[in-house]
């Protein structure tokens, strides 16, 4: 029997403002506890919130990037609950009237383009942190994070597999970084996902969902969903019922476990925050923000397909980040064929960055230098194989490709007289292979090319060598 999996994600993206959403305290990560908590963040009596315009501006950017509706008027509401790291006893969030409604995240799932619709995105403040270690029988409270601006992005329950959920999350992660509203640092908690998961028989109404919290890596997201789907299917197939609840993912055990059931769910008593006026966003503010926006990945993918004929999967890889796309554009602008540039950037270059654990924001070989390397390949001055070694050598310092080629003697021989001499020499020495070839064994031809390459210490242009070899063998009176 088949089951259909239904997944919706709620993502908290920490916004890149220098100060908090309702106070002037710094949002920098990693400061000593409680050194970045102002009177407002500590919720001292009499303190009041003042909205950070930069946080709103980032929400507008997001709304524009996903094609959502940016509310002319949205409302901040209080979500009331008691917790030691929630200083006011309520979180300022948006409830009935969010800043962004709708929108779409488009991404590639393998070779297929998927479009997941968004329900909404709203602004809210983060809570502080409770520290349970190092305090025997007590809990430490660090309010540095309290008041950090978050954009909570809620998708429709339109994903049908853990892989699709991960692809969506990666695309969203790339997008928020692309438009500069979130640094995407998942270790520091700048981008965290909660997954709503349910299963059903195809065609049936939605099943009961569970919300899994604490997913701060793509791998955990995938493993948590896979575990949860298995758990729910087994439960139902054994005659049980899924209970609506919040579950926590335990990465050490690779399983989710119940945190609280719907019955324990708190009544948050949302109501509009009387300390803040409704947020009004004028068409002029939206226009101004739009003008300052970079070209979006979707637009670039379309341009790469139309202008360079790149396959969607290839274009999608190039637009993983704004830096990568800009690097590609610069290499192409320097005269390298788009396909060559794309293959190298997505291949050798991406592999090198991956090994080093960095990205295109700090490229070890800049676009101009990289373009000169690819030019040597396309003119046949070096072989593709040699180019890979040259590239790795370039990444170790500032040396130009040509200098490395010269230093290492990697120049390719394309001069036909030099290759002809080598071919003649090989034909004379390898009578057996020549006979085999004549007897119809095509493999023998490849062996002969190999011998020519060997005779030239690999520097012969292989196409040229084949051409000459073919001509000589073909012109033989036999």
């Amino acid at each position: 029997m088949t089951w259909e999996v239904v997944i919706g994600l709620e993502t908290h993206a920490q916004l890149t403002t220098a100060s908090k959403i309702f106070s002037g305290a710094s949002t920098a990560f990693g400061a000593p506890p409680n050194t970045q908590a102002s009177a407002v963040d500590l919720a001292l009596p009499g303190t009041l919130p003042v909205l950070n315009r930069g946080a709103v501006e980032r929400a507008i950017r997001f709304g524009l990037a996903v094609g959502g509706a940016i509310a002319a008027r949205s409302v901040f509401a209080r979500k009331n609950y008691f917790y030691p790291d929630l200083p006011k006893g309520y979180q300022i969030s948006q409830y009935e009237q969010p800043v962004v409604a709708g929108g779409v995240i488009a991404f590639m799932l393998g070779d297929e383009e998927r479009r997941v619709r968004l329900t909404r995105a709203h602004l809210e403040e983060d809570a502080g942190k409770s520290l349970h270690e190092d305090f025997h029988g007590m809990t430490g409270i660090d309010l540095n994070r309290a008041g950090t601006p978050l954009l909570e992005i809620v998708s429709e329950p339109e994903m049908r597999s853990a892989a699709e959920a991960v692809a969506y999350a990666k695309a969203l992660h790339a997008l928020v970084r692309w438009i500069g509203i979130c640094d995407g640092n998942m270790q520091e908690g700048s981008f965290r996902c909660d997954a709503n998961v349910s299963v059903r028989r195809p065609g049936e109404p939605l099943g009961t969902r569970c919300e899994i919290k604490n997913l701060n890596s793509f791998r955990f997201l995938e493993r948590a969903i896979e575990y949860e789907v298995r758990r729910q299917v087994e439960l139902i197939e054994d005659g049980g019922k899924v209970v609506q609840e919040t579950r926590l993912f335990d990465p050490d055990r690779g399983e989710t476990r119940s945190m609280r059931s719907k019955e324990d769910a708190q009544d948050y008593r949302y109501f509009p925050d009387p300390d803040l006026l409704p947020l009004e966003i004028s068409p002029a503010w939206i226009e101004e923000t739009k003008r300052a926006m970079p070209a979006l990945p979707q637009a670039l993918r379309e341009r790469y397909a139309a202008q360079h004929g790149l396959a969607p999967a290839m274009a999608s890889l190039l637009t993983e980040s704004r830096e990568k796309a800009a690097f590609f554009d610069a290499v192409v602008a320097a005269g390298v064929a788009a396909r060559t540039a794309a293959n190298w950037i997505n291949g050798e270059y991406a592999a090198l960055l991956n090994d080093r654990g960095v990205d295109f924001s700090t490229p070890p070989v800049d676009a101009a230098r990289f373009a000169r390397l690819l030019a040597l390949v396309s003119t046949g001055a070096i072989s593709g194989k040699a180019a890979k070694d040259v590239f790795l050598a370039m990444a170790e310092g500032d040396e130009d490709a040509q200098a490395i080629v010269t230093r290492l003697g990697l120049a390719q021989i394309s001069d036909s007289s030099a290759i002809e001499a080598a071919v003649d020499q090989v034909l004379a020495a390898q009578g057996r292979l020549v006979e085999d070839y004549r007897a119809g064994k095509e493999k023998a031809f490849n062996a002969l090319v190999g011998q020519v390459m060997k005779a030239t210490q690999g520097k012969a242009n292989p196409q040229e060598a084949s051409k000459i070899l073919r001509a000589k063998l073909g012109s033989d009176p036999n």
Binding site: A39, L42, A43, L44, P45, G46, T47, L48, P49, V50, L51, R78, N80, F82, P84, P87, K88, G89, Y90, I141, D267, R269, Y270, F271, P274, D275, L276, L277
Partner: protein
Amino acid sequence: MIHTWSIARLSRALAGRELSAVEAARAWLDRIDRLNGRLNAFITVDPAKTLSQAREADARIARGEGGALTGVPIAHKDLFCARGWLTTCGSKMLSGFVSPYDAHVIEQFDRAGAVILGKTNMDEFAMGSSNENSFFGAVKNPWDERAVPGGSSGGSAAAVAALLAPGATGTDTGGSIRQPASHTGVCGLRPTYGRVSRYGMVAFASSLDQGGPLARSAEDLALMLAVMAGFDARDSTCVDRPREDYAGALNRGVKGLRIGLPREYFTADLASDVRAPIEAAIAALRGAGAEVVEVSLPNQHLSVPVYYVLAPAEASSNLSRYDGVRYGHRAAEYADLNDMYAKSRAQGFGREVKRRIMIGTYVLSHGYYDAYYLQAQRLRRLIANDFTEAFKRCDLIMGPASPTVAFDLGAHTKDPVQMYLDDLYTIPINLAGLPGMSIPCGFGAGGRPVGLQIVGNYFDEARMLSAAHAFQQVTDWHTKTPPAFGAVSR
């Protein structure tokens, strides 16, 4: 007899070097020292701090840099945060809280060179109409020590009435400046919502709270309001609008002024001993050239129920921060986190505060929100619209500030609803966000004072003050002082 001087008189004397700020501060500190024991108007007095500020004021005056309030001692309701001062809000919860920062209002007085005379008693978290809900004990009415002074700014009102301070600050969420002003025979002004920054003013109900001055004349209120009013970016609901020249506008007079008398304010709810002085005051204003028109505020009877949904709703959330985690009272013993919250709050808050937290929590709860909170918000709009209509026909609205004179201590403590109804004439103004004031206009039963309420249109404080000043030019009610606490000379 310095302590009998008005702020205006004191200001002239300080500027003319007739006396020093230190002498002035000593005069009132001495009064407090001798008489506060009878009234319990002050929670905190700190002569060393006050005199040190007074010395600074003297230096400033000597440099020729003084302003109208430089060297004038002002008492502050104990919910204005003042750096280094205990700021208790009349609660056990904050009985040990020393503020590390200044409220905007405190900063403004500091900039003007005014001196903090002390922090005044109040109903706990400004919840009450009698000042009996204070952790620090009830305040007595200087006119009759068996009577309440009104609340919640009862300490400020009693201090001004008994000449323990020339002026004081208060806050008015449902009448907490006007009602005690009325009951103690002083002048009190609640400005338009957004006129005075709420930053550093401990919140009761954010959409209704507004700070304002209490003093003995319209002229003194004008001098204080000029310091308190003004834009502050730290309060998002504060309005960026230049303040008027309140003192300069005082002598505009009332010729041609249209006074609206709401039909609904002169019904059987109004005690006859209050009605008579109010009607006499209107007659005096008419004699000075004002015209009188009848207006109607048909939805005013909804005000008290609407207020007792909205104010507790906001309060229940505003008071969540008092959880015993970062500051304030924490129970000495508890079993776990929830127990710590429960015990700290049960011990730290008084009965009325708990009652309102429970009401507020109830009306915001799932399943009740629409029927109570949302419905109250809709009615709040109707109540405000009544005023908009009325102000098409008049310039100021006048009537009683309170339906009765001050009641006896303990009279309403067993019946909170009866206590709530004492604010039926003041609450509508808060719901509409309008400015309102109370000025003394006579005495009712038992020689207890009666206050005339003057309500203006939005940001029309200058007109209200000039009408009050005109009244005080033709009457002398504002010069009366409680027999037991000495007479005013001007």
